[in-house]
Amino acid sequence: MTRKDNNHKSAPILVQCAIFAGILWVASILSALCPPSFVVPTPVIGLVLLYLLLTLGVVKLEWVENLGMFLISLIGFLFVPSGIQIANDLGILQREGLQILLVILVATVALLVVTAYVTRLVIAIHKRIMGGQQHDSIN
């Protein structure tokens, strides 16, 4: 849209839309091919596809960057309907809202703390196996 900006090579916005749409289309087909016992949602496949296309250099950053960063900047707003969705069944919050809140609290702390500690451990072990010859800035 803003062609005079410093990212002079960025693709027209419709081209960027088309790339996103094409990836989503292929991803939805691949997702449908996954067996029902092993669900891989369309966005997961699309995410991996776009990452691979970028890393392999098939898709240039300038072809997707404007639209992609714009969408990411909207992400908080895009989650609003998923939160309001519970209005379809408020009974569940009356029945077990407090328990749900408790589990979320436990999960939040567990995810933060366990992930941090496990990572520290894994890196320490990895460093020992490598004999400390690389991975300089790890503490």
């Binding site: 996103f20 749409a21 092993f38 669900v39 891989v40 949602p41 966005p43 997961v44 699309g46 995410l47 991996v48 596809l49 776009l50 970028l54 890393t55 950053l61 997707v64 960057e65 639209l67 992609g68 960063m69 969408l71 909207l74 992400i75 908080g76 989650f79 609003v80 998923s82 939160g83 309001i84 969705q85 519970i86 209005a87 379809n88 069944d89 408020l90 569940i92 077990e96 328990q99 749900i100 809140l101 589990v103 979320i104 436990v106 999960a107 939040t108 567990a110 995810l111 933060l112 703390v113 366990v114 992930t115 941090a116 496990v118 990572t119 520290r120 894994v122 890196i123 990895h126 800035s137």
Partner: protein, 243 residues
């Protein structure tokens, strides 16, 4: 009257309500210097639900009816854009390929191990407080970003609306209490560990991680993406084995 009701059932209603509550949330958040309950997404969710409840009261129908007939058509359109927005996270991931190339093995092993450990903790906690099966299943994929967590929850028989709430409330808690947890558990000693840990709090956790440093921020945004994929691959077999 029916013409009015029919028109209110068009997507404009849901889109307008969503924008309104989110923008009011943004305004309040700024005015209150970042009071944690005024996080735009959380405030928008609560305010939106209250609007639907009041609407139902005025019209004499249930909240669920108002949601399905007047909010959902517009809400679904906004919700759809989570598909391209989630894919877009490949872009910041690609930009951090330097960090990823250096640490990919550590990141992957750490996230798989900690995901499995956390799933046991979450399932244990759910059993302990006596959650129903559909709510317990909804709790499991909450480490993933919402657009990934919701379909995964449905695949294992969970209520995806509850999963969405979990993702939102988790971000509220991280935003409000991250500093307390980091101090209490001495997490600041490992930059990569702290970054990945905060990344489980989604985009809000990533913003927090950036306050600690560039490496932490990069790790958190990498974690948001990778843990989404890891959760998808780990939760479904886990649920089949242990639920």
């Amino acid at each position: 009257m029916t013409a009015l009701t029919n028109n209110l059932a068009l997507p404009f209603t849901g889109i307008f309500i969503s924008l309104l509550v989110f923008l009011v949330g943004q305004w309040l958040f700024k005015k209150s210097n970042g009071f944690f309950l005024f996080q735009p997404l959380f405030f928008g969710m609560v305010a939106g639900i209250i609007i639907l409840i009041l609407w139902g009261k005025v019209q004499g129908t249930s909240t669920a009816y108002v949601y399905r007939h007047f909010y959902k058509p517009g809400g679904d359109i906004i919700f759809w854009f989570l598909n391209p927005a989630t894919i877009a996270f490949a872009i910041p991931l690609f930009k951090r390929n330097d960090v990823l190339k250096k640490y990919w093995l550590d990141i992957l092993i750490s996230l798989v191990l900690s995901s499995v450990l956390c799933l046991f903790i979450i399932l244990g906690a759910s059993k302990l407080v006596g959650l129903s099966h559909s709510s317990a299943a909804a709790m499991l994929p909450q480490a993933a970003t919402t657009a990934i967590a919701m379909p995964v929850a449905e695949a294992i028989g969970g209520n995806s609306a509850v999963t969405a709430i979990a993702c939102i409330v988790k971000a509220v808690i991280i935003y409000a209490l991250a500093d307390v947890f980091i101090k209490a558990f001495r997490l600041q000693h490992s930059q990569i560990g702290l970054g990945l840990g905060l990344g489980t709090g989604g985009t809000i956790g990533s913003a927090k991680a950036l306050q600690f440093g560039v490496l932490e921020g990069a790790m958190a945004s990498v974690c948001v993406v990778i843990s989404g994929i890891v959760i998808d691959l780990v939760v479904i077999p886990f649920a089949r084995l242990f639920m």
